[in-house]
């Protein structure tokens, strides 16, 4: 008699075990330390890698299935957006500057994170951690690709989207995210994990993705909204990886706590500086505004981050050193960075402009403690000058911070008219910083930051001109030569929005879509 045997199906937990630890083996002809040479030198002690558990218990086979489904939906929307001239549904061509900055300065960072996680996915000893890192590497590659595919449609019609790879390695303001990414990539795998998975993905990423994607939705950019949604479920998985990773490190050995704390101090501060660019996008570049940078900071950093650090206190972790100063800066940084880009608008590959009275009133209401006193008068002064035909374009290069590489546009905490600056002499060389926290990051690893490729200093060293340029020619214009080296289309990519080709074309095409 035949017996019917029920086909045994693996539970999620067993399946996860097989697809992670089950794929590993003990090396026999090489010692494990030779196979994994990078997971001890940072001083982190791991006693039991099997304690690493991915809370989603995601395995590669399920991963491909989910991502494949998301991609199919995403590409259907991107295709429809392109075919229906979706770019004409955005609120205003000024909005494009935010997308340009995202494409120039954030998307390439995704590629750096691919490299970092691919490396961590090779070099951690625990199989489950390697699998999680490999999946995140593939996620980030997908994010870069979907951003490229969504944004390429804008590149057909508007300026400033071309030459992204070329600009990334050269343009002055892009050295801010680039140096952030390279600092993380060249750290050991554990520091990379705390830098990206914890400090950026867990503590700060909501400040980038939530307001940015809501901003896209508010401003009619369905293409960006769709890649945002497609990335969102990955982001929540990355955030969970971040919190699991830090708890795993802290639980493995008490000696890990001070090392991890040092990395949190460093990477929270570095991340908060990079996000000043996002603050500027939210407060100034969105024609329809979602929330102010200050409000976003209060919700996503102060409330959520505050709760997080209360939770981590039981491990002996305190909030990052720069916490109070970063919170104080919420009233100032978006305005300071916008004013910097406005005045250096001739050298940026996106447009800047004067705000309308309604927009200034919105900022006055959102920033009652700072805007009317410190920023509105400056914006109105510059607007009046522009109206008189004297648009301010600064052409003398600014001093850069050796660590974050941002021009010294930030003020002392509690003193909004005093430019903040610090100096350190290390082995007879002087180094300048924007803040005590950037100075401290340098002093902890001076040999790393003496190598900083500071664009302004490189320009003066003569390293930022095309090879055929003759700096001794009588009509030599160094600024123009540098912008040509950046591959800017001068007069089209850069400068004032009012009167720009993007403004004219958008108005004309939208007019054709709605009138005879």
């Amino acid at each position: 008699m035949d017996m019917k045997v029920a086909k045994k199906k693996l539970g999620i937990k067993e399946r996860y075990g097989h697809m992670t630890r089950g794929l590993g083996w003990e090396p026999t002809y090489q010692p494990a330390d030779a196979v994994f040479p990078y997971d001890k030198y940072e001083g982190i002690k791991i006693h039991d890698w099997d304690k690493w558990v991915d809370p989603f218990r995601l395995t590669m086979d399920a991963y491909w299935k989910y991502q494949g489904e998301k991609d199919r939906k995403l590409y259907a929307v991107i295709e429809a957006f392109a075919q229906n001239n979706g770019h004409l549904n955005i609120t205003d061509a000024r909005y494009l500057s935010a997308i340009k900055l995202f494409w120039q300065g954030v998307s390439p960072l995704e590629n750096y994170v691919v490299q970092g996680f691919a490396r961590a996915g090779r070099h951690f000893r625990g199989e489950a951690s390697r699998v999680a890192c490999q999946m995140q590497a593939v996620d980030e590659l997908r994010h870069y690709q979907t951003q490229a595919h969504s944004i390429s449609n804008y590149n057909k019609y508007y300026n400033g989207f071309h030459s992204q790879r070329h600009m990334w390695d050269r343009v002055w303001y892009l050295s801010v995210p680039k140096s952030f990414g390279e600092d993380a990539l060249t750290a050991g795998p554990f520091e990379f994990l705390i830098a990206i998975s914890f400090s950026f993905e867990y503590v700060l990423t909501n400040l980038l993705f939530v307001p940015f994607m809501s901003g896209a939705a508010y401003n009619g950019d369905m293409s960006t909204v769709t890649f945002g949604f497609s990335a969102q479920s990955d982001e929540s998985r990355h955030m969970t990886l971040g919190i699991e990773a830090i708890k795993f490190l802290l639980e493995q050995d008490p000696a890990n706590v001070p090392i991890v704390q040092g990395w949190i101090d460093k990477w929270f501060w570095r991340g908060s500086k990079v996000l000043a660019l996002v603050g500027m996008m939210m407060d100034y570049m969105l024609p329809k505004r979602v929330m102010s940078w200050k409000e976003a900071w209060e919700i996503y950093a102060e409330e959520n981050g505050g709760a997080l650090f209360r939770d981590l206190a039981r491990y002996g972790i305190r909030p990052p050193k720069g916490w109070a100063d970063a919170c104080e800066a919420k009233d100032h940084i978006s305005h300071q960075v916008w004013l910097l880009f406005y005045e250096y608008g001739g050298a940026a590959a996106f447009h800047t402009w004067s705000l309308t009275n309604e927009e200034l009133d919105w900022l006055s209401a959102k920033y009652p403690d700072s805007f009317d006193k410190y920023y509105r008068p400056r914006l109105e002064f510059l607007r009046d000058k522009h109206a008189r035909g004297e648009r301010v374009y600064q052409s003398t290069l600014p001093t850069l911070c050796t660590t974050c590489q941002i021009p010294l546009c930030f003020t002392e905490p509690g003193d909004p008219t005093k430019i903040s600056h610090r100096e350190t002499v290390y082995e007879d060389e002087k180094y300048v910083f924007c803040s005590v926290h950037c100075q401290e990051i340098f002093c902890n690893e001076p040999e790393k930051f003496v190598q900083s490729w500071l664009p302004v200093n490189q320009i003066y060293q003569g390293n930022c001109f095309n090879p055929d340029v003759d700096p001794t020619a009588p009509d030599f214009d160094p600024l123009k030569a540098v912008l040509e080296y950046f591959k800017y289309n001068l007069g089209r990519d850069n400068g004032e929005f009012e009167g720009s080709e993007d403004q004219r074309n958008f108005a004309m095409w939208r007019g054709q879509a709605s009138k005879n």
């Binding site: 008068p377 600064q394 001093t399 003020t411 190598q451």
Partner: protein, 119 residues
Amino acid sequence: MSVIALGPYKFAPRDQVKNFHGNILVNFCWDRHVLVTAPFAVALPPTMTLREAIMARIAPSIAFHPDARKIDWNTVQWEKDHKPWQPDLDKSLAENKVGHKDYLVFITPELKGLNNTGL
């Protein structure tokens, strides 16, 4: 502290003076005039006088500020290395002991900035 690394980790500083073709890099910050959004970094021959440096590179860069034309450079107060500093404008940068990557702050206490609020 130093970089934690598996092997020797030592690199030449990227901004040594020898890379600047005979110039030195000097930073200038106008104190409490933040309408000028950031201090300037300019490459200057050390034989240039401080007054020449100001007139050639700094004065034109701040000219859009309404206080700029009221500056009396002969009475400006200076700080270097976070300390008060008294240069001779008509002596060279080298004679004034302005070094590579120094950060000079010029202070004009009688000029209060836009709206008299340090802008």
